[in-house]
């Protein structure tokens, strides 16, 4: 079917204007909604980070009350995880999974619409918390009791928001799993599936396994708060440490939910720009699977300091270190893919290469933290903040940028501005290191995290970090400009867009027509 025809067909029987977006069941529309939502929330949570870095530019309190600072760190974390990284990856899945496996749409289009539209509701709740008496939740994104039992009404709203986002994620996962297992084009066997599809399949299972655990944990908080239970209240015979166990049984798999789709995106991009097939496709699939399984037996590494028998500490130390093996295999495979490839460095590839280097550093600092006696020193210091920002900013977020630049021409039909893209990359990668690298030193020197004030000797590194932070924050506006420019016009993108690109999505016209693969393609 030719593009023009597909286009006409797409527009004659669905509402236009705002109602198009509210009622849409089209996977591309919903993917676009997810991606815009994530981008907007990125700037919301990002401006909170700017306020945090402004306050930390100097010791003492400058701009805000300590209570508000704590609200900022908490909401920054919650929104970045649940409102930015997860929705962005779901947006990629919505756009790309059907295109990559040759399906006409997602398996449950109406549920897909519902999954998305729950998110703005949750976002309004989360942001609305700031305007409630007592302000937003301030107990950290990990929602530990007793703080989360004692707080005011924003804590209830927060629990509700987490429930809603969990429901959205579960429905999204059901949709993705069903689509991948049942709607692949003839010939698209499991072993031919693109890596991005594989990683999302495994991520979706992780989500279905862990989101109910999180929902259970926050429900117990809710009943402790209002319905007379004492799950986490020591005075009533409960145990606040139990919350940590339940939370991290969700929480550690969650960090893999935040990184496996990133692995998938990087595994699409590197072969394209190295013009070589992915080295060790099979081992990538296996490594992803085993990371998913192992992620359930390491949660105790977040709790070394809360009190645990030596045997428990050893168990979680060993199991955490084992998980680095399949992760290392992946890094090796990406490097081997680039080895002797004829590489070019367009913006997606730049972000992908930066991912490989910098994510690995985050993995290494994770290994350092996995050593129990070391973690007992470093737990709750800026070293941990450095670790998870290397895996989440130069890991998850960079993969999102890489993927956005990679598929933007397919989505919009226009090439993005390569000059601005490169500028965005270089400013981001340099400022990101200025921002987060000194945090390793701060942590090693003993500066605690989640603290609005600090001792004088930490001033210099904090100022360096803040300057890096402001540059990083400002650089992200370039990304917004690039996206807006590509949406509104620019050089016409070819169908294949990238010389070395392979896969079903590149057989379609750019922009991809509203309806694609209504008759399934044959995959040889």
């Amino acid at each position: 079917m030719d593009a023009t025809h597909a286009h006409d067909h797409g527009h004659d029987h669905h509402p236009s204007g705002l109602m198009r977006w509210i009622k849409t069941t089209n996977h591309k529309d919903i993917g676009t909604l997810y991606l815009w939502f994530a981008l907007i929330m990125f700037f919301v949570a990002g401006s909170m980070a700017m306020m945090i870095r402004a306050e930390l530019f100097e010791p003492g309190m400058q701009f805000m009350h300590p209570e508000f600072f704590n609200q900022l760190t908490t909401m920054h974390g919650l929104i970045m995880i649940f409102g930015v990284i997860m929705p962005a990856f779901t947006g990629f899945a919505n756009w790309q999974v059907p295109l990559m496996i040759g399906a006409p749409d997602m398996a449950f289009p109406r549920m897909n619409n519902w999954s998305f539209w729950l998110l703005p509701v949750a976002a309004i709740f989360l942001i609305g918390e700031f305007f409630l008496p007592g302000g937003a939740v301030a107990g950290g994104w990990t929602m530990y009791p007793p703080l989360f039992i004692q707080g005011g009404m924003s804590y209830d709203l927060n629990i509700f928001a987490v429930h809603i986002m969990g429901a959205s994620s579960i429905m999204g996962s059901i949709n993705i799993i069903t689509t991948i297992l049942n709607m692949r084009a003839p010939g698209m066997t499991m072993m031919k599936m693109p890596m991005f599809v594989w990683t999302w399949l495994i991520t979706a299972y992780l989500l279905i396994a862990t989101m109910p655990v999180l929902a259970g944990a926050v429900t117990m908080l809710l009943t402790d708060r209002h319905f007379g239970t004492h799950f986490f209240n020591a005075a009533g015979g409960g145990d606040p440490v139990m919350f940590q166990h339940i939370f991290w049984f969700f929480g550690h798999p969650e960090v893999y939910i935040l990184i496996l789709p990133a692995f998938g995106i990087i595994s699409q991009i590197i072969p394209t720009f190295a013009r070589k097939p992915l080295f060790g496709y099979a081992s990538m699939v296996y490594a992803t699977g085993s990371i998913a399984i192992l992620s359930f037996i390491v949660w105790g590494h977040h709790m070394f300091t809360v009190g645990m028998p030596a045997a428990g500490q050893l168990f979680f130390m060993y199991s955490t270190m084992l998980i680095a093996v399949p992760t290392g295999v992946k890094v090796f495979n990406w490097v081997a893919t680039m080895w002797k490839g004829s590489m070019t460095f367009e913006t997606p590839m730049l972000f992908a290469v930066a991912f490989v280097c910098l994510f690995t550093m985050g993995g290494f600092s994770g290994l350092v933290l996995a050593i129990t006696p070391v973690d007992i020193q470093l737990q709750d210091t800026y070293y941990v903040v450095a670790h998870f920002h290397y895996v989440l900013v130069s890991g998850a977020l960079f993969s999102i940028f890489a993927g956005a630049y990679y598929w933007l021409p397919k989505w919009t039909g226009h090439m993005y501005d390569e000059k601005l893209g490169k500028l965005h990359f270089w400013l981001s990668v340099i400022s990101m290191n200025i921002l987060f690298f000194p945090m390793h030193f701060l942590g090693l020197a003993g500066m605690p995290r989640r603290i609005p004030d600090y001792a004088l000797q930490f001033t210099q590194f904090n100022q360096i970090a803040s300057i890096g932070g402001f540059i990083f924050g400002a650089s992200q506006l370039i990304f917004l400009i690039v996206v807006l420019k590509a949406v509104r016009g620019g050089a016409k993108a070819t169908d294949k867009v990238w010389e070395g690109a392979e896969g079903l999505e590149w057989t379609l016209p750019s922009p991809a027509p509203y309806h694609t693969f209504e008759t399934a393609p044959m995959v040889k």
């Binding site: 066997t189 499991m190 072993m191 060790g280 496709y281 099979a282 081992s283 699939v285 296996y286 490594a287 699977g289 085993s290 399984i293 192992l294 359930f296 037996i297 030596a310 045997a311 050893l314 168990f315 060993y318 199991s319 084992l322 093996v325 399949p326 992760t327 290392g328 295999v329 992946k330």
Partner: protein, 80 residues
């Protein structure tokens, strides 16, 4: 309908039994390699054609349980 002789039935049973143990072993090997994170391409391809997802999931859970047991044993040795 043609009734199969007693012998062919037995032959089938034996064959099925053998295939079960074989694929059980195959699933175990698959999971072992996956924990390491590497797998030869040809082996991978035969895994995908010979194993059902349920088998891999069950083998994965058993493998995870064994791994937990092995780490616990190591911990026991270290703290003894």
């Amino acid at each position: 309908m043609h009734k199969p002789s007693q012998q062919t039935i037995r032959a089938h049973v034996v064959e099925d039994g053998q295939r079960k143990t074989l694929s059980g072993w195959r699933a175990a090997k698959t999971v072992f390699w996956s924990f390491l994170g590497i797998r030869r391409k040809s082996d991978y391809q035969s895994d995908v054609t010979h194993l059902k997802p349920v088998q891999v999931i069950v083998a994965g859970l058993i493998g995870a349980a064994l791994l937990v047991g092995a780490i616990l044993f190591l911990v026991y040795l270290v703290t003894k």
